[in-house]
């Protein structure tokens, strides 16, 4: 390979090559892919006959049948389609925290999943929440697009704060198609993540919500009297760190995670909590596999 990327290690790439993205729904793709489509198409697999109506492509008329029955029938084949894989990355400045940063972790995860998609000739599209409305994100297809995709992912910079709901809405407007959507975000939106997820429900996408949280958020190691400043909106929370407060924080965090999980489960979405301390390969090859996103 001419290039190397820090996002995905060669070992991981080797392991990912054997995987494929799994959709629980069968979606209609735009181009011929390697998946069956409910649409009758032009694959080699025969599906059915139907009567000719004017305007049909004469190439698909079964002349043998016409010769026998003198009726025009169209031969119908099963269509093999590609899968639309979307990765929607929350690139707000709040994702800039942690070691590795949550943003990078999200990018790694997106790269791993995207690579699986590319190998299976799926249509991979990676967007950030602050993607301008008119500026379409590039679409990657095929193994050759790997380096382009990785370059693109490397180039994602934390952008201006966009509310989760706004970002998802904008995404939905731009991408009406169906497919798999992996939302990579910390879901820390003061207006709530519920509205954003509801948009996705209406999109009939196979949605995976991966909540990326850093160790600083899960196990904050802070002490003393602090003035906590929100990096996005400069909101201030004055706290005096104490054991009861820490206990209370952890309770709140657990409740928050649990409510998100429940919200997703109720609406047929898959929820996954990703800690930035867990290596991506472990998450993809282990956890996501058991959850059925990859095979």
């Amino acid at each position: 390979m001419p290039q190397t990327s820090t996002l995905l290690s060669p070992e991981l790439l080797a392991r990912l090559e054997k995987m494929e993205l799994v959709s629980r729904k069968i979606f209609r793709g735009r181009m011929k892919g390697e998946r069956r489509s409910p649409r009758k198409g032009q694959s080699v697999e025969f599906a059915d006959f139907r009567s000719y109506v004017p305007g049909d492509d004469l190439r698909f008329v079964d002349w043998n049948t016409y010769a026998r029955l003198e009726k025009l029938f169209l031969k119908m084949f099963l269509e093999e389609e590609d899968l639309h894989f979307y990765a929607l990355i929350d690139a707000s400045s709040s994702m800039e925290f942690g070691q590795p940063t949550k943003l990078r972790y999200a990018a790694q995860l997106a790269a791993a999943l995207g690579f699986i998609g590319l190998i299976r000739s799926d249509r991979v599209k990676i967007e950030t929440l602050d993607q301008p409305q008119r500026e379409a994100a590039p679409v990657f297809r095929g193994r050759r697009s790997l380096w382009r995709m990785l370059d693109y992912l490397e180039g994602i910079e934390p952008g201006p704060p966009v509310s989760l709901a706004e970002g998802v809405k904008s995404f939905c407007l731009r991408n009406s198609g169906k497919g798999i959507l992996v939302l990579l975000s910390d879901l820390m939106d003061k207006t709530g993540y519920e509205a954003a997820l509801r948009y996705l429900v209406s999109q009939d996408l196979d949605v995976y919500v991966v909540q990326v949280l850093s160790a600083e958020e899960l196990e904050p190691e802070i002490q003393g009297d602090l003035r906590l400043i929100d990096c996005e909106d400069d909101d201030v929370a004055e706290v005096t760190v104490s054991q009861p407060l820490m206990k209370r924080y952890k309770q709140t965090l657990a409740a928050f995670v649990e409510s998100a999980r429940e919200f997703c489960t109720r609406r047929g979405m898959s929820y996954l909590l990703a800690r930035n301390q867990v290596p991506v390969e472990e998450l993809v090859t282990g956890y996501l596999r058991t959850r059925g996103l990859v095979r």
Binding site: I229, A237, V239, T252
Partner: protein, 681 residues
């Protein structure tokens, strides 16, 4: 009642302290500037503290709780520094003299643990109350006063001086203490000469007298600059039964028999049944029965309130030794030092008297009176006996207590007291000067009335005594004139090496050779026919013969000096106190020693070369000390000033600063706990 406040700090110290609370508040504001920390999102934090914000008032209080507690601590400290206290009396003036009575009566236990301890406590309380710059001095007094601590502002020294005061068994005399106190407060009073420069400035002082007031009016003293405050010590419920007298004397009914006689007095306000026990305290050294007490008699008697009763015990045999009398009157006896008394019993030894006379019928007659027969053993010898070897041996060996030389004189003075009649003691050998000499004979000297209190001249009236002739005597050094006349001394007494010599400047009776060669009796005086003559002879026996010490009733008062005689001029004496302390007497003058260490009550054993020489009993026998019940309205009179006792006087301030500091400490601990545990209310 509001507490009295005494500032313990100066104004600038207060200023510094007053700056502390604003500083704390300021620090609090500084502290409230929390350390900023950027976090991904405050979303969860807000949610977390939202619950804690539910009780906003509590939360606000909690936020200020530490501040509040810190301020409370500093205010408590400030309050403690103000030294709030409740007290009866304020100390005024800045010079104090503390007179603390440590006489025997102050050992009374009607106040626990004792009156003296109570007085000391009150004195210490007073010292504690002194302001800086105040000076005080401490004097303890019984029959004499002792300056325990001179004027100082060091309260620690004063406290130590007060604490060091020990009880004594002495009687009380305020005058001594007042003189000492006044010497320091009114320096002009002690200047003996008007022209003396007054070097010390007379400064007024407050005189605190801590005493039970068991002494009479003090006369002959002017307080001057002293302002007296009398703090009476003692409870009106004090009860005591004490032994006021104890001695051994011949029974009145049968002079052959001896009786131990004691007088007990009940000083309490209630009738008391007392048990009296008589012990023989055997001499510890050299006695076959060894040490230890032997109860020999006991009696019971009822003492009505305020009355005295006598008790007598017949003694079957009189042995040399010490008798101890103990009285037990139950629990309500608050003074124990007067519950025991001792008397020394010596077997009646007759006085050995040698009369050397060529013949003196009236004198010999006077020596044979009943009274003298009992106490004396008289040998009469003619002057030629003086040349006898036996005389020389006896005289030097101390075989006589008294030698009377009538119209004769020995070559050498005997080791005995002497009385010379019509002669003077001879010159000692080797040319030493005796100082005795007589002037030429004078006819018809007129005797002057007796003016000396000397024991030899007790009860003697010489107004009807006439002399025919007399040789006026020269008074030797340290001698004293007992009978004086218009021409010179007629009876002189002077000490000699532990003995005393007396000389009469006239003869009683003589023989003169008349012009016809016949010897005729010559009567030199009519004294022999006067009543005072046998009395004089008895006095001579009593005093010079040592008859006074025979029964030795032991009337030595605590602290009183005693003259002890050694058997020989070079012997040394040891004295063992009742507590067993051994004293080797030093600095004696020719066999006579001054023993002053009679601070303990009880029998003292005087020993010479390991043998018990005599006993000495020191007894209290002071009605003023034993009568411990104070007056309901105690007053002491000093000169013409009546000082009323300040009943219920308490200098002691009930300080609460310790409690305030303790509370402050508790608050501090609470603050520390809250800070560390971050207890949320």
């Amino acid at each position: 009642m509001w507490p009295n406040l005494t500032s313990m700090l100066t104004w600038w110290q207060w200023a510094i302290l007053a700056a502390v609370p604003p500083l704390i508040v300021l620090l609090y504001f500084l502290k409230l500037k929390r350390r900023p920390l950027e976090v991904p999102s405050t979303y969860l934090w807000h949610k977390s503290i939202e619950d804690l914000h539910v009780n906003t008032i509590w939360q606000r209080l909690r936020r200020n709780l530490l501040l509040f507690l810190q301020l409370l601590v500093i205010f408590l400290a400030m309050a403690a520094l103000l030294r709030p206290s409740w007290q009866q009396r304020k100390l005024t003036g800045n010079r104090f003299i503390l007179l603390i009575d440590n006489s025997a009566s102050m050992q009374a236990t009607d106040l626990q643990p004792s009156r003296l301890e109570d007085a000391k406590r009150k004195a210490v309380d007073l010292i504690d109350q002194m302001k800086s710059g105040d000076v005080a001095m401490v004097i303890s007094f019984a029959d004499s006063a002792r300056v325990r601590q001179n004027f100082t502002d060091d309260r620690r020294l004063l406290r130590q001086a007060v604490e060091a005061i020990e009880p004594t068994v002495r009687p009380t005399s305020l005058l001594e203490a007042l003189k000492v106190a006044s010497g320091l407060a009114n320096p002009g009073h002690i200047a003996e000469d008007e022209r003396d420069l007054q070097v010390a400035e007379a400064l007024p002082a407050k005189l605190y007298i801590f005493s039970d007031g068991r002494f009479g009016p003090v006369s002959g003293f002017s307080l001057g600059n002293l302002e007296p405050v009398f703090v009476p010590i003692g409870e009106p419920t004090a009860a005591n039964v004490g032994i006021m007298a104890f001695n051994v004397r011949p029974s009145e009914a049968n002079p052959e028999l001896y009786q131990a006689f004691a007088r007990l007095e009940n000083f309490g306000s209630e009738e008391v049944h007392a048990e009296v026990e008589l012990y023989r305290d055997l001499p510890a050294v050299g006695h076959p029965l060894g040490g230890g007490d032997r109860l020999i008699n006991a009696d019971q008697l009822t003492l009505p309130a305020g009355e005295a009763r006598g008790v007598a015990f017949d003694l079957e045999s009189v042995e040399s030794g010490v008798l101890e009398l103990r009285v037990r009157s139950g629990a309500d006896d608050h003074l124990s030092v007067d519950d025991k008394a001792w008397t020394v019993v010596s077997p009646p030894r007759p006085i050995r008297v040698l009369l050397v006379t060529p013949g003196n019928e009236p004198l010999e007659l006077a020596l044979t009176t009943e009274a003298l027969k009992e106490i004396a053993e008289v040998t009469v010898q003619a002057p030629k006996f003086l040349k006898d070897k036996q005389y020389a041996k006896k005289a030097v060996g101390g075989a006589y207590d008294l030698v009377i030389y009538d119209r004769c004189a020995p070559q050498e003075m005997p080791r005995a007291n002497t009385l010379f009649i019509g002669r003077v003691p001879p010159r000692p050998p080797h040319g030493a000067v005796s100082g005795w000499s007589a002037r030429p004979k004078v006819v018809g000297p007129q005797l002057l009335p007796v003016s000396t209190p000397h024991p030899l001249m007790q009860w003697i009236d010489l107004r009807d005594v006439k002399l025919a002739e007399g040789t006026p005597l020269e008074v030797p050094p340290s001698g004293s004139v007992l009978i004086d006349s218009d021409v010179g001394p007629m009876l002189v007494i002077a000490p000699r090496e532990g003995f005393e010599d007396a000389a009469l400047g006239f003869v009683l009776l003589d023989e003169v050779t008349g012009p016809d060669g016949k010897t005729e009796p010559y009567v030199g005086t009519n004294w022999m026919t006067r009543q005072s003559f046998p009395v004089f002879v008895l006095n001579v026996f009593d005093y010079l013969g040592g008859g006074r010490e025979m029964l030795g009733s032991g009337g030595v008062q605590p602290g009183q000096p005693v003259v002890l005689e050694a058997p020989t001029a070079t012997a040394r004496l040891q004295v063992r106190s009742p507590a067993g302390r051994e004293d080797e007497l030093k600095g004696g003058n020719l066999g006579k020693f001054n023993f002053t260490d009679t601070e303990e009550l009880g029998p003292y054993e005087v020993r010479c070369e390991g043998k018990t020489l005599r006993w000495l009993a020191v007894n209290l026998f002071q009605p003023a000390e034993s009568g411990i019940r104070p007056d309901p309205q105690p007053v002491i009179k000093i000169g013409y000033v009546e000082v009323e006792g300040q009943l219920g006087w308490e200098a002691g301030r009930r300080d609460i600063w310790k409690w305030l500091l303790l509370l402050g400490l508790v608050v501090l601990l609470l603050e520390w706990y809250i800070y560390n545990r971050r207890v949320y209310l």
